[in-house]
């Protein structure tokens, strides 16, 4: 029997189209289409015993055996980015690494990730699968499991193609107290590599500026490097990843939380020549450009060399540099020794970063 005869002869309501190519509202209905999508795209890539149990929750072991010790560390992050795929990464890798890094900055070992997807009607399933596969790769690299998730579909025009929210859980086994308020005068400020790569890669990938570069986003999970770092410098005071707002904004947050001054030497901050050129051209300051695979470490002076060496031995920290020191004054501020030998204040980024006119 020919398929078209079958359709004609049988007495039935028309079934919804299977929509194997693009997302439609039905994919977010919670019904069969949702289940199919979850199975064909998400389970396929994220499969592990916890997720495969198929519950609305994820039941996991806490990762520790000794009694009374250790702490759970949690973090959540929403990811929206245009374009979804950019040189060096994509929204999927970003969504995993961003949350892994936030958890890891406490010194904890990230263990599990949950992911929420908001998908615009019409979004290609092939693209979705690319994103999900990239998430899976990043999760493997970071040694975390993606254990729960949710998908909603919104009508065309109500979201920009794909938003991903991830939550991460980690286990802090040691009695480490790594936090933004612990920077102390005398501490040394380290950066794990070149800054501004992600910001410039994404900006130029938008093709609005008529500039082409070979700059790749640095998006990467940093928990492996942090392990190395903490073995070498167990008394590390602060770890933070300078994402949106860039290095200058992150240092300002730390200076304010710790009520200290952070003095940096501008010449020592590693910046790729290409990143520097793009910023010069557009009137941006690399110190304010986003990073997704870098961290600032503030460590006591006696552990600084060890910390620096440990980072440099890791693939994501080869270009690590000592960039400054913590001082008592001027409290709550970040100061820079400029290349011309003067000093200036590095303020927080306020509002949107806008290209200069002339």
């Amino acid at each position: 029997m020919q398929p078209d005869q079958n359709a004609f002869e049988q007495f039935s309501c028309p079934l919804p189209l299977t929509h194997n190519e693009s997302i439609v509202i039905g994919h977010g209905s919670g019904g069969r289409m949702t289940h199919d999508l979850v199975k064909k795209v998400f389970y396929k890539h994220f499969s592990n015993p916890v997720l495969d149990a198929g519950n609305d929750f994820a039941r996991v072991s806490s990762g520790q055996t000794s009694r009374g010790k250790g702490k759970i560390v949690l973090s959540t992050d929403c990811h929206i980015i245009s374009p979804l795929f950019f040189p060096g990464g994509d929204i999927g890798r970003l969504a995993v690494c961003g949350t892994v890094n936030d958890v890891a900055m406490s010194g904890a070992q990230p263990l599990y990730i949950t992911a929420g997807f908001i998908i615009e009607e019409g979004f290609s399933i092939e693209m979705l699968e690319k994103v999900v596969s990239s998430m899976s790769g990043a999760a493997q690299e970071a040694n975390v499991l993606i254990v729960a998730g949710d998908t909603k579909v919104v009508e065309k025009g109500n979201a920009d193609s794909l938003f991903i929210t991830t939550t991460g859980i980690g286990w802090l086994e040691h009695d480490l107290d790594i936090a933004g308020d612990r920077a102390a005068p005398g501490d040394v400020v380290l950066i794990s590599g070149t800054i501004g790569d992600h910001g410039v890669a994404v900006l130029t990938a938008r093709n609005e500026l008529g500039i082409e570069t070979t700059v790749q986003s640095d998006v990467a999970p940093l928990n492996g490097m942090i392990d190395h770092l903490l073995q070498a410098a167990p008394h590390t005071h602060v770890l933070r990843d300078p994402t949106r707002g860039g290095l200058a904004t992150t240092l300002n947050e730390i200076a304010a939380q710790s009520k200290v001054a952070i003095w940096i030497d501008e010449e020592t901050v590693p910046i790729l020549p290409e990143v520097r050129s793009v910023c010069e051209l557009l009137g941006f300051d690399p110190l304010y450009m986003a990073n997704e695979g870098k961290l600032v470490a503030i460590v006591p002076p006696e552990e600084a060399d060890n910390a620096l060496n440990a980072m440099r031995q890791h693939p994501y920290g080869k270009m690590a540099m000592r960039i400054g020191a913590v001082q008592p004054t001027p409290q709550n501020r970040v100061m820079a020794h400029t290349t011309s030998g003067a000093t200036r204040i590095l303020d927080m980024l306020s509002g949107e970063m806008l290209p200069r006119i002339c």
Binding site: V188, E208, L209, G210, A261, W263, D265, P273, R276, S277, E280, G283, R322, G324, A325, Q327, T329, P330, M335, H337, T338, T339, S340, G341, A342, T343, R344, I345, D347, S350, G351, E352, L354, P355, R356, I357, C358
Partner: protein, 375 residues
């Protein structure tokens, strides 16, 4: 990096500073016209490195800063029309009008887009024939050729749904206004390198002659700026008032003739309001009669909008070099980059924003700079 790192060389900077210290025998007030120069000066802390006798005051050379409140209100009024897609350089979106800015207009549903070039706005017009696309054409002589080429492009392509809201201004009349003001303190000028790249510097010798002030065409890197300051000081000390060029790698006496031809073809001088300063005769440009169809003020009938400037904000005095940003009672209290009262705090090129970002208040920095050791 070539063409920048050489001009930031610390040894050369120290060398020229030594020459400057040797040259200066008394107090001098020099104005840098351009906002880009104000930023570079504060970004590299050059004002701290100069001898105390040399005072730099920051001129009105930021196109965002000098765009009058009234025009921002007109922009918002046009942007909120349902048939309009309003396009602008990014900086302009945050400039407060009398009740809101273009960002909040966008939040309320207006179609406002940031473009990096006016030609992008023409492209938007081409792709949206059922919409009126308006470009906020602000700028000095540097930006004017690009602004008007968008009009020529639209005309050539027969695009009828494109127009510009013009706030284009000229440097020489502003210099006349500053030098001719009764409380003028400016004794020497650093002319804006970018403006002169387009216009050359043939317009400046008569100004130098008339007011007996030396004028030096100056670039934007630390060494460029110090060279411009040095040449100006040499003239001041010698009692001379010539127009000199310290930015020879970019500027010629004649300037860019084809760009000037574009301007002459499409624009004619007109009186223009400058935010905080007031009306400066023949200081602006408007589209010539034959291009009037591309004038958004003409197309959208917004001439009834008339707005008074803020009474607290002293941006006018700052733009004329009479006061410094940190002498304003609202500086850093009522007025911050997040909540700007005047445009000098909004634009990244504005003097108040530059002070906020790089130096806050001078005493504070010097106090701590001397105490802090380099590592």
């Amino acid at each position: 990096m070539r063409y920048t790192s050489e001009f930031r060389d610390k040894t050369l900077i120290q060398g020229i500073l030594k020459e400057i210290r040797r040259t200066v025998s008394q107090r001098w007030v020099i104005m840098e016209i351009c906002g880009g120069q104000t930023h570079a000066i504060l970004r590299y802390g050059l004002d701290q490195l100069l001898p105390p006798e040399v005072e730099l005051v920051h001129g009105p050379g930021c196109p965002v800063c000098v765009t009058p409140l009234e025009l921002v209100d007109k922009a918002i009024s046009i942007a909120t029309l349902p048939e309009v897609i309003f396009t602008s350089y990014g900086d302009m979106l945050r400039v407060p009008g009398s009740s809101q800015d273009l960002f909040s207009a966008r939040g309320a549903g207006a179609q406002v887009k940031v473009v990096y070039s006016p030609l992008d706005a023409v492209e938007i017009a081409k792709n949206n024939p059922d919409k009126q696309v308006v470009f906020f054409a602000i700028g000095f002589e540097t930006t004017a050729p690009a602004n008007v080429s968008s009009v020529l492009q639209a005309k050539a392509l027969g695009i009828k749904n494109y127009s510009i809201l013009s706030s284009m201004v000229r440097v020489p009349p502003a210099m006349h206004a500053i030098l001719g003001a009764p409380h003028n303190r400016v004794q020497g000028f650093l002319a804006a390198g970018h403006v002169c790249t387009v216009m050359g510097y043939w317009e400046y010798p008569p100004i130098a002659e008339q007011y007996h002030v030396p004028i030096t065409v100056t670039g934007f890197e630390p060494l460029d700026l110090l060279q411009g300051i040095y040449m100006t000081l040499q003239q001041l000390e010698a009692g001379q008032y010539q127009t000199q060029n310290a930015y020879t790698r970019a500027v010629t006496y004649e300037g860019n003739r084809s760009a000037q031809a574009l301007i002459t073809q499409t624009l004619e001088p007109c009186d223009r309001q400058w935010r905080g300063i007031g009306l400066i005769p023949m200081s602006g440009w408007k589209l010539r009669e034959e291009y009037r169809d591309f004038d958004a003020e003409h197309r959208f009938r917004v001439s009834h909008i008339q707005t008074k400037e803020s009474e607290v904000c002293i941006s006018g005095l700052i733009l004329q070099g009479i006061k410094k940003p940190n002498q304003c009672p609202a500086f850093r209290t009522l007025c911050t980059p997040e909540n700007p009262l005047g445009a000098t705090m909004v634009s990244s090129e504005g003097a108040c924003s530059a002070y906020f970002r790089y130096s806050r208040d001078q005493e504070d920095i010097q106090d701590h700079a001397t105490r802090s050791e380099r590592f």
